[in-house]
Structure formats: structure tokens, C-alpha cells
């Protein structure tokens, strides 16, 4: 680790400081990336400004606390159905967003709450969607797996289906000539889907501006990668598509790799594939305790050695980029934000029954919808 020394000693002093005392920027060594069909990869160091660090810290902490709150609400049966939690993987969503802009596009599978946030959703509307209320980001019609924001196409429930969809978005970017790209995410479980290989083929043929990202969290539901995949080198599975294998627990690694990949796409070279090695603390979903196919020791080891939030925190503290109090204040603010959101999500009313049949068709006249019996009259509006 490269340490920038300032006038004061590093993290041990507990007294308050003025912001002028903090290191504005530091450069860190990051893990070397494994390359496939690439001569060069992303840089071996990453520069982090204090501002960026605080922003990444806050966003990752928000995702973490939001997911833990969702866990709580689910156990209280206030959230129902499917709930796939993202805690442990925060560096992926935050790092990716650090490497692209909000005018780029992104699509992912069902473990999507973190991305909904990084793509512009608020904690309030995400939580209210989980609790199925009218203030939800999809007005309670979608639920955990179907949240959308501008340039974010969900939230998709069918494993692998989002990958060709992402390539379609990329095709639109190329068609419209807007220099935007699409990030299309999938897991280690989905990586074996045929439609993904079909997408690799067409994206390469047509040089679509797409970044394929495999979030490899080691387990597809209850099946470890060794048991599901003849080749677990997911970054090579694109064959003729250049690939990178990246430490997905380090937000800076993810960011630098994403920047590298984005440059590749925007230069017209076509698709590129990133494998992010990451880990989920929860089971596959809330109905999976997550310990029948892996040991508690394994989970604990990752938590203590590779937690993305701790890693960033340690870096910032030991480089005098922030104080413990400051980070604690952020934690408190985040907790409050989550509490307020949860409060909203549990008190906001459910959607009105009038909304039952709406949003079947866009830009159409209202029409009658068949109800459970022939005598009930239901109307659909756009």
C-alpha cells in the first residue's frame, strides 16, 4: 500500500480535524487482473479522491443496510415472495457505476436492489416496492425483481434472458450513434445459458457496445461453480471475446476494470467480458439459509478478510482520507435514511384496486378486462 504522509499522524488521533487536514487523493495498488485475449489490461494502481471515497462508502453502506433491513422486513412477513439480497457484493454495483455514466445503460438479473439504487432509484421507492405499496418504484406492480429507472432495464426474473436484452439495448446505442454502451450482467449460474452464447455471437458479429459482466459469487442457488460448470473460467467463456477476471470485492478494481472495458467498447472494438469474483453473505434468496451448501466458516472468512466496505474504510482511514467519526456520521445518516424508508414502506398504502388492470398497453384507449367472473367489469388504462 502506498501511504501519503501528511503533517499529522495517521488514524489514531481521535480529536476533530478540519477538512484541510485530510488527504485529498491517494493512489492504491490494486490486484492484477487476469486477461483473456488482451495484451494489456487495466492499470495496476487506482487513484481515489476523498470525495469519491466518501461517495463509494456511503453508497455501499446504503446498499448493505438496505438489504439487511429487507431481510428483517421479510422475516416479519412484511416483504413476501422472492427477495434476493446483495450484501457482500456492493463493490460490484458501486464500482461499475464508477466506470460508466448515468447516460450509459445497464441491465441485470433478479439480485437487483443494489443496481436500482446506483442507477438512480431511492431507498424509499425501492423498499416500498418490496413491501408492495403504491409509492414503490413500480407502484407495487413489479416487486423485488422488476424495478426500473432511466437507462436501467431491471430486474429480470428469467435466468439469462436479460443478456440478449442488454445486447438489444447496445444495438440501439450503436444504431442511434450516441456513444453510449450497455452493461449486461449475469451470474455464474446463468453463465451456462445458451442464449448468452447466442448473444456473444451476435454482439461480436455486429460489434455491439456491450460489456458482459459475470458476477461470480461462487454459487448458483445451491450449486457451486465446480458442480455446474465444466469451465469455471467465466472470463474466458466468451471465447473470441476479450475477457478480464477482476477482484469483485475491491471497488477500485471494479471501477478501473469497468473504465477499461468502457473505453474498449466506445472505441468501436465491440464487446468485452468481465468476470467479477465476489461473494454473497445471504443465501440465494430469503428462503435459502445459505449454509447447506457452504460452511459458516467460509462466509465468516470472507466477511473478515474481504468485506468491500471494510476494505474501503481501512484504505481511507490509513491514508488519512477520512476520520472514524466522519465515517460513523455517514453510518448514522445511512441508518436514518433506511429507517425512514422502512417507515414509509410499511405505512404507505397498497396500490388502489383501480390500478389492478392498468398498464397492460401503452398509449391506448381504456378497455375492458375480463375479471374472475363474467359479471365484474374491470377497466384497463394506459
Amino acid at each position: 500500500r502506498v501511504l501519503e504522509l501528511t503533517g499529522c499522524a495517521a488514524s489514531m488521533v481521535a480529536s476533530s480535524r478540519s477538512y484541510a487536514d485530510f488527504t485529498p487523493e491517494a493512489t492504491f495498488d490494486i490486484k492484477k487482473v487476469d486477461l483473456h485475449r488482451l495484451e494489456e489490461g487495466p492499470p495496476l494502481t487506482a487513484t481515489l479522491t476523498r470525495e469519491e471515497g466518501l461517495k463509494y462508502y456511503r453508497t455501499m453502506q446504503t446498499i448493505r443496510r438496505m438489504e439487511l433491513k429487507a431481510d428483517q422486513l421479510y422475516k416479519q412477513k412484511i416483504i413476501r415472495g422472492f427477495c434476493h439480497l446483495y450484501d457482500g457484493q456492493e463493490a460490484c454495483a458501486v464500482g461499475i457505476e464508477g466506470g460508466i455514466t448515468l447516460s450509459d445503460h445497464l441491465i441485470t438479473a433478479y439480485r437487483a436492489h443494489g443496481y436500482t439504487l446506483t442507477r438512480g432509484g431511492t431507498v424509499r421507492e425501492i423498499m416500498a416496492e418490496l413491501t408492495g405499496r403504491r409509492g414503490g418504484i413500480a407502484k407495487g406492480k413489479g416487486g423485488s425483481m422488476h424495478m426500473y429507472t432511466k437507462n436501467f432495464y431491471g430486474g429480470n426474473g428469467i435466468v439469462g434472458a436479460q443478456v440478449p436484452l442488454g445486447a438489444g439495448v447496445a444495438l440501439a446505442c450503436k444504431y442511434l450513434g450516441n456513444d453510449q454502451l450497455c452493461v449486461s450482467l449475469y451470474g455464474d449460474g446463468a453463465a451456462n445459458q445458451g442464449q448468452i452464447f447466442e448473444t456473444y455471437n451476435m454482439s461480436s458479429l455486429w460489434k455491439l457496445p456491450i460489456i458482459f459482466i459475470c458476477e461470480n459469487n461462487q454459487y448458483g442457488m445451491g450449486t457451486s461453480v465446480e458442480r455446474s460448470s465444466a469451465s469455471t473460467e467465466y472470463y474466458k467463456r466468451g471465447d473470441y471475446i476479450p475477457g478480464l477476471r477482476v477482484d469483485g470485492m475491491d471497488v477500485l478494481c471494479v471501477r478501473e476494470a469497468t473504465k477499461f472495458a468502457a473505453d474498449h467498447c466506445r472505441s468501436g472494438k465491440g464487446p468485452i467480458l468481465m468476470e467479477l469474483q465476489t461473494y454473497r453473505y445471504h443465501g440465494h434468496s430469503m428462503s435459502d439459509p445459505g449454509v447447506s451448501y457452504r460452511t459458516r466458516e467460509e462466509i465468516q472468512e470472507v466477511r473478515s478478510k474481504s468485506d468491500p466496505i471494510s476494505m474501503l474504510k481501512d484504505r481511507m482511514l490509513s491514508n488519512n482520507m477520512a476520520s472514524i467519526e466522519e465515517l460513523k456520521e455517514i453510518d448514522i445518516a445511512v441508518r436514518k435514511e433506511i429507517e425512514d424508508a422502512a417507515q414509509f414502506a410499511t405505512t404507505d398504502p397498497e396500490p388502489p384496486l383501480d390500478d389492478l388492470c392498468s398498464h397492460i398497453f401503452a398509449n391506448d384507449q381504456p378497455f375492458e378486462v375480463r375479471a374472475a367472473t363474467p359479471w365484474t367489469k374491470l377497466t384497463s388504462t394506459s
Binding site: 406492480k141 440478449p164 458479429l205
Partner: protein
């Protein structure tokens, strides 16, 4: 164009009158009286429509409307050409649509005119390219995704239903999906079991989709243009055996903004004794059967559904209330099919009280399509089956 608007208005007036009339009906006692009243209202409105269009046409030219012979293939081709020209966001993708001019030549000449960007040949990977098409629609383009036949759509059906049909609803209106899926549907000639299935019932089952099944060239042209302009996912079921069949198209129909309303059936032939409801190629068979039956004094009313979903049940009801007898005719399998849905709706609605006999379905035989010609001929509804059924229902 105002004659198109006027037509629309008259359709609405017609609808309103029929609905109002249905509400006033209280008993069967003056059935024939009411039927003839209904018939008169309809005739008045019909002639009103023709009167309006004739009057308005006079404003354009002094000569009578010129009819042009256009087969269904060319009608589809011209519709796509005009829509590609009209809106830059429209593009076509599918197997062999570009350099091969289309497996059935429906997209002939389009690649030459519009190039690689707008007319895209895909590899043989339906699930992948259907997903790509839907994604392009998410991002604001207006794709036409061709399936070489609808049989191959089964490989991609998840993208059609889960990614296209349901997304506007799941996103509570945030994400529209303006896509058309099109291709030949149903039985062809000698292509056997895996290439002959009719998917009208499968796709017609799903909310969030519009499902259209044109019969003639006017249908093909007007409905395809409407489908491309629609901001919703449309499943467009063509018929290979109809591609080469020519029909006369009027100047009005040939206008570049001619569209037909999705969700509206058309009465192709007026009749008083029995209603035949059909879609796609079978409409032609119904008309042929009607011609034969007319010689025996049976006047069939033939309703061309044009759209499978949303189903125009009002037009069917009005017809059944006039004739008192219903036969549905389709090429698809009987179980859980289009005809089954029509019969169920008639049972549940006001027209049931007008039925003088149970509603009956004429369908494809409930087997995978065989190859040998003699077997294939006996697997699909023939004109004689329609005639036989009409006579049975009328107790002749």
C-alpha cells in the same frame, strides 16, 4: 385523412348503436322483429359509411377509385417499406430477411433499399435475436422481428411473453415495448408436424400482447402498418399459403397512411341464417362454403376476426343475435383454442339467449400434422366440413 376518420366515427356509431340496442333487448318474443331492426341499423350505417367515403373520395378525384391487384406478400412488403421510410427507428431483423430477400420473399428489395443498418440478417438463434429485438425496443427503437415460421418462436417464447408482453405492466407503465413479431403461422403444404402448428391460441392467451391474424391483402397491409405504429408488442400471424393470393385493393387502401384498427373484426359477407367466425386462411374457406350454401337458400354471415387479441366479441355477438346460430372455423387444434374462447364468451354474454342451437367449432384435427398429402388434407378443415357443420347446426 378525413375519410379514414369518418370511417372510424361510423364504426364507433355502429358500435354504440349495437350496444344500446343490446341493452334494450329484454325478451325473445319479438326476436325476428329485433333482428331485422338490427339488420336495418347495420345496413344504414354500412351504407352511410360507403356514402361518406364515396362523397369524400369525390373531393380527391373525379374518377372512380382505381383497384390494384396486390397479393398478400406484396401487401406486407409494401407496408414494411412504407413504415421503414416513414420512421427511422423502424428496422427489420430475422433469418434471411436481408440478402436472401426473405425466406418467403416477404422482405424482397428492402435490404437493397435500406441497407445493413435497417435490415439485419441474424444467425439461427431465435432466443438470442428475439431478446435482442426486445432490448432494442426497450431502448426506443421499433423493431420488426421476423420468425421464419412461428414454430421457431417456441425457442424464443420466453422473450415474447416474459420480456415483451409483461414489461409494461411490471414496470407500472415506465417501460413500453413497441415491437412487432411476425412470420407465417399454421399449416402450409407438406411441411409436416414440426412446421405446421398454429399459435393463435398460445399467444392469444397472454395479456400484454396484441395478436393479429390477417386474411387478405387489405388485412395484411392495414394491420401490419397498424402493428408497426402501435407502441405495444404485437404478434403478427401470417399464412404462407396466402402469400401468393391476389386481391383487389382500392386507392384508399393503397394510401400510405391506411391503417386498420387492431381489435376490430370485419363482416366479410352479410347473412341471416347463421354466423361463421374465422381468421386467416379459413375466412376464404368460409366464403366459399357460403357461396355453395347460398345456392341451397342458406345465407351465411361470415365474420373475419382480423384480431385474435383483443377479441372483437361485440361484432360476433351482434351477428349471432341476428342469425341465432354460430359456427367458428379455425386451422388450429380444438382444445383450448380460438373457437373455444369464442363459444365461451357467447355463452357468457347477451347473445346466448339468441342461440337456436349450440355453438359449434370447426377446427384442425387434434393430431400432429402428418406428411402424406391424403392425410394432410384430412387434418385441416375443408369446405365440405364447414358446409356439413352448417347444415347440422341448422338441422337441415
Amino acid at each position: 385523412m378525413h375519410f379514414l376518420v369518418a370511417n372510424e366515427i361510423l364504426y364507433c356509431i355502429e358500435d354504440y348503436c349495437i350496444k344500446a340496442f343490446c341493452k334494450l333487448r329484454t325478451s325473445r318474443s319479438s326476436l325476428t322483429e329485433d333482428r331485422s331492426k338490427m339488420a336495418s341499423i347495420r345496413c344504414f350505417l354500412r351504407s352511410g359509411k360507403s356514402a361518406v367515403s364515396v362523397v369524400l373520395r369525390r373531393e380527391f378525384s373525379k374518377t372512380s377509385p382505381a383497384a390494384v391487384q396486390v397479393n398478400v406478400r406484396d401487401a406486407l412488403n409494401q407496408a414494411m417499406d412504407e413504415e421503414l421510410e416513414r420512421d427511422e427507428k423502424v428496422f427489420l431483423l430475422g433469418e434471411e430477411v436481408a440478402q436472401y430477400d426473405g425466406a418467403y420473399k416477404v422482405s424482397r428489395g428492402l435490404w437493397k433499399k435500406y441497407g445493413d443498418k435497417r435490415i439485419i440478417d441474424t444467425p439461427i438463434t431465435e432466443m438470442g435475436f428475439a431478446g435482442i429485438a426486445v432490448g432494442a425496443a426497450f431502448a426506443g427503437l421499433r423493431p420488426i422481428c421476423e420468425f421464419m415460421t412461428w414454430n421457431f418462436s417456441m425457442q424464443a417464447i420466453d422473450q415474447v411473453i416474459n420480456s415483451a408482453a409483461k414489461t409494461y405492466y411490471m414496470s407500472a407503465g415506465a417501460q413500453p415495448v413497441p415491437i412487432v413479431f411476425r412470420g407465417p403461422n399454421g399449416s402450409s403444404a407438406g411441411v409436416a408436424a414440426q412446421h405446421s402448428q398454429c399459435f393463435a391460441a398460445w399467444y392469444g392467451h397472454c395479456p400484454g400482447l396484441k395478436v393479429v391474424s390477417p386474411w387478405n391483402s387489405e388485412d395484411a397491409r392495414g394491420l401490419l402498418k397498424a402493428a408497426i405504429r402501435d407502441n405495444n408488442p404485437v404478434v403478427f400471424l401470417e399464412n404462407e399459403l396466402m402469400y401468393g393470393v391476389p386481391f383487389d385493393l382500392s386507392e384508399e387502401v393503397m394510401h400510405k397512411d391506411f391503417v386498420l384498427p387492431i381489435g376490430k373484426a370485419k363482416v366479410e359477407r352479410q347473412g341471416t341464417h347463421i354466423t361463421l367466425v374465422s381468421h386467416s386462411r379459413c375466412v376464404g374457406f368460409c366464403l366459399d362454403a357460403a357461396a355453395v350454401l347460398a345456392k341451397e337458400g342458406v345465407e351465411c354471415e361470415v365474420v373475419n376476426l382480423r384480431t385474435i387479441r383483443p377479441l372483437d366479441v361485440e361484432t360476433i355477438e351482434a351477428s349471432v343475435m341476428k342469425t341465432g346460430h354460430l359456427v367458428t372455423v379455425e386451422g388450429g387444434w380444438p382444445q383450448y383454442g380460438v373457437g373455444a374462447e369464442i363459444c365461451a364468451r357467447i355463452m357468457e354474454g347477451p347473445a346466448f339467449n339468441y342461440l337456436d342451437a349450440p355453438a359449434v367449432r370447426v377446427t384442425g384435427v387434434d393430431i400432429p400434422m402428418p406428411y402424406a398429402k391424403i392425410l394432410e388434407d384430412h387434418s385441416v378443415p375443408q369446405i365440405k366440413d364447414i358446409i356439413f357443420t352448417v347444415k347440422k347446426v341448422l338441422n337441415m
